[in-house]
Amino acid sequence: MAEPLLENITVVGASLAGLRAVETLRREGFAGRLTLVGAEPHLPYDRPPLSKELLAGIWEHDQILLRKAPYAGLELELYLGNPAVALDVGKRTVTLATGIEIAWDGLVIATGSQPRLLPNAPALDGLYTLRTLDDCFAIRTRLDAGARVCVIGAGFIGAEVAAACRSRGLDVTVLEMLEQPMVRGVGSVIGSVLAELHRDQGVDLRCSVAVDAIEGDGKVERVRLVGGAVVECDLVLVAIGAVPTTDWLIGSALTLDNGVVCDSSLLAAPLVVAAGDVCRWPNALFGGDLMRIEHWTNAAEQGVFAAHRLLSGDADTAFAPVPFVWSDQYGIKIQCAGRFKGTDRMELVHGALSDHRFVAIFESAGVISGVLAFNQPRQVMIYRRMIAERASFSDALSFAAANQ
């Protein structure tokens, strides 16, 4: 294993994965020049609260800073509000929007993801996506003014925004194309529990509907559905998923295919690693299938792993975790671990769906492939461990039976 002696590392993307990468580089003794480049004007902050506490109006910016310790300790050359626009892997340079060219001998790509947009959406005031602090504050100002909200897409973010609106007593309509919220991820049984939960809390949830047009005179006034129904509203949030931020890498010789494609050690090219929402890599724990994960824990862990990979030159250790994600809605902790589809066999092993306190496990090819729970964090971690150990589904069921 060659140990490259790196002197000059650049990290592009100043959010969770990028910050964990620079912290790891310094912790592991990298003493050379370290540059962190970010498109946003802000120091790294935490995104999950943007659809939860911040939008609900109970937290402020200073409560979501990702690093509490002073930045001086990291000795960074920091470029904020200055996105990278081009990468030259051969010359080993990154070019920023202002024209500055940064040379590197090690590169971490951590540019995350950005909201998928509705095709043909009109340019109307009041039409939003939610990814950044600036998005969040802009939406929050409208909520403060009592906006009637229409959310397009009942995925994690759409569902959380709906919950935040209800906590503020605002009218909110959620439009979902599929038959249940989050049905692809959680399956129809738990999807219907979520649907009921939102409806009980006063959300006007409409599933199996398609948006025909967003209309208004200069500003959002209504959403028209296929079939003619109309939702009157002042604010539309489009929450239909995210796409990896790879536009700046087009033409760079890296393999781009729904993310920056890496090997099992997160290497994208010699001396180039990727981490976080932008990274697509084969997870050996799940048969080496290429995965791209858009969740917090993955970005934190990959930031650490990728930095270590770059410094150590260790090509043999694979990044092979059990994916984990949480969502908070109406005070319920929803947590999932593993990799499963809504169509996998599911067994309810603890609790009852109607109590909003339960654990369900999923099966794929005889092994436990996933766990999903409401308000049962302890159990999630226990089953997460079984998934990591590739325990058989029958062993997981026996464990559950013995631990009622």
Binding site: E23, D46, T297, E301, K333, P377, R378, M381, R384, R385
Partner: protein
Amino acid sequence: MKIVVDFDKCKSNAVCMGVAPEVFEVRDDNFLYILQEEPAEELRPKMEEAVRTCPAGAIELVG
């Protein structure tokens, strides 16, 4: 080395328990319990990992 958890921030999601069950335990009441407030020095790497991966930024290592 001492483990300090800010319980106002802790969201009881048990990520720390996934990292180091010998130190962190979330029980069925959904509260986090610290099993060893001053874990042995050889647990430091795991404790640092718990600090880094706590989604609430609630864990601090002192000393």
